[in-house]
């Protein structure tokens, strides 16, 4: 009977193949479910393997004793020092300039807010080479502002300051976007409660809003730091590639690839470790932030 129904519906005879279907509708479901799970697992493994293999290769192709030896290479030391110092300076600058901007965009409406918002996000999608040319056109010796600065004896392009300017340009959206979300997540009743209790807007900002949004701000700052550390395209166009002056870690990897691969691998490994730490810290802080918001 069931065979007839199936053969009518699917246009098959009630013989061999149908018997399988008749015997085990439950089994068929279970087989399909298993096949689906296996397929998904394979897809996951492929995707994760695609990401993990290059990272693992860096570790496998980098014997520990070579890494330790290469760590003392002047090129590595200079690049590491320059990258860490410029990225730290960039992060502090982005936090100081970006926090008020993020707060204003989170809490207030003003004409042209949408345009300002899009402008803040622009460096994220702008190709790094374009960012480099744009910075040159603005701050280079013949640039719109750089022309006047040059007249005052201030030169930015192809200096360490240019590295910082390029890093600020590309990393600021990462902080400002995250900071804005963190400020938006602070319940307005907290601010209102503080003000009815006698706190000024500034006192409320520093004692209520900032501490509640703090984890989100830190995670934004870490992301900006990581983006600065990995910055390559805009830096090489706007600041050049001079050891000790503008040769940051990504630039040193690019240079070393043409000569000493060990140096390139060692620098790459350091960047991978820092990136991994950044992800762990950001995830932890973000989770804490959302727990606070939920509570």
């Amino acid at each position: 009977m069931i065979g007839e129904i199936i053969s009518n519906r699917f246009g098959t005879d009630a013989g061999g193949s149908c018997r399988v279907i008749i015997q085990s509708p439950r089994l068929r479901g279970s087989w399909r479910s298993k096949a689906l799970k296996a397929g998904l697992a394979l897809l996951m493994l492929l995707t994760m393997g695609f990401i993990a293999l290059p990272v693992a290769s860096l570790l496998l192709k980098n014997p520990l004793d070579t890494v330790v030896q290469t760590l003392h290479d002047p090129m590595v030391v200079d690049a590491l020092r320059l990258s860490l110092s410029t990225s730290a300076f960039t992060t502090v600058t982005v936090v100081l300039l970006g926090t008020p901007l993020a707060y204003i965009n989170a809490k207030f409406r003003y004409p042209g807010k949408e345009i300002a918002d899009s402008l803040i996000d622009l460096p994220v999608i702008m190709p790094p080479a374009v960012a480099g040319i744009a910075l040159l056109m603005a701050f280079g010796r013949m640039g719109i502002l750089g022309h006047y600065l040059d007249g005052l004896g201030i030169s930015i392009a192809f200096t360490t300051l240019a590295v910082i300017v390029a890093q600020i340009f590309v990393s600021s959206p990462f902080y400002i976007r995250q900071a804005r979300t963190s400020f938006e997540d602070v319940d307005i009743s907290m601010e209102n409660a503080a003000r009815t209790l006698g706190a000024s807007r500034i006192y409320t900002f520093f004692h209520v809003i900032l501490p509640i949004a703090f984890n989100g701000l830190v995670s934004g700052a870490i992301m900006a730091f990581a983006r600065s550390l990995g910055e390559f395209g805009a830096t090489i166009m706007f600041a050049g590639n001079f050891q000790r002056r503008t040769q940051t870690m990504p630039l040193a990897i690019y240079t070393a690839m043409q000569g000493d691969l060990d140096v390139a691998l060692c620098l790459a490994l350091i960047l991978v470790i820092i990136s991994f730490l950044v992800i762990v810290i950001v995830k932890t802080l973000t989770r804490r932030m959302y727990e606070n918001v939920r509570n």
Partner: protein, 250 residues
């Protein structure tokens, strides 16, 4: 004495209220969701501004559209207990209660004395070091009230102070709330949906409908409003009409 005569255009209607509340009087403000109760509290506290009118408290003008006066919230000296309590989650119970005193720049010694007194009175001294997010609903309500009372406000505003508590806790809190508010001897407005609150806490009640005061009376008169008026509230996804509540009480 609190005197209010304000008008504000809201999305669906005009909020237009004229009220006088004497020193030590507790006015219960009841009405349907979205009828303008919380907005009225915000206008008084300075968190929103009326379009026209005047608000005066104990001889001080808080808002006057003709004189273009609009005192900022931090200068109004109003104790406001928010519906969500709005306790600062990153601070301890002690720091929450001390917040208003610190914002006023009191000395550490003065703050310690006052906070201890208020926490002792509210039975919160033992949990003074607990984070505000880690305490129970009843404790949160007491912390929020202590935080509002410690600044010695000239007016108390409470937005559904008992709605977040379970029924057993509500009954105990009603008595507690009335005693504490009466002890302050300042005008008070309590927003509520529950006629039991009106009966147990209030001296007078106003029914707000679409931004206008539809009925005013004593707590006893307010008990009959539930039988006449259709307003009610959502409770566990179910609409509880005050009519039903009234029947339960009788």
């Amino acid at each position: 004495m609190l005197e209010i005569d304000v008008k504000k255009r809201l999305r669906d209607f005009d909020l237009q209220v004229k009220l006088r509340i004497a020193e030590g009087e507790i006015l219960m403000l009841v009405g349907d969701n979205g009828c303008g109760k919380t907005t009225l509290l915000n206008l008084i506290a300075g968190l929103q501004s009326p379009d026209f009118g005047r608000i005066a408290l104990g001889g001080r003008t808080l808002f006057d559209s003709e004189l273009k006066e609009n005192m900022i919230p931090e200068e109004r000296n109003i104790g406001y207990v928010f519906q969500s309590y709005a306790l600062f989650p990153h601070m301890s119970v002690y720091d929450n209660v001390a917040f208003g005193l610190r914002a006023r720049g009191l000395s550490r010694r003065e703050i310690e004395l006052l906070v201890k007194e208020h926490l002792d009175e509210a039975g919160l001294w033992d949990i003074r070091k607990a984070k505000a997010i880690d305490i129970s609903g009843g404790q949160k309500q007491r912390v929020a009230l202590a935080r509002a009372l410690i600044i010695e406000p000239d007016l108390l505003l409470l937005d559904e102070p008992l709605s977040a508590l379970d029924v057993r806790c509500q009954a105990a809190m009603r008595r507690d709330l009335r005693e504490k508010i009466h002890a302050c001897q300042v005008p008070s407005i309590i927003v509520t949906h529950d006629l039991r609150d009106v009966a147990c806490i209030g001296d007078r009640a106003c029914l707000l409908e679409s931004g206008k005061i539809a009925l005013t009376g004593g707590p006893d008169e307010a008990m009959s409003w539930g039988a006449q008026m259709p307003f009610g509230r959502e409770e566990n996804g179910e609409r509880i009409e005050l009519k039903e509540k009234n029947r339960e009480m009788n």
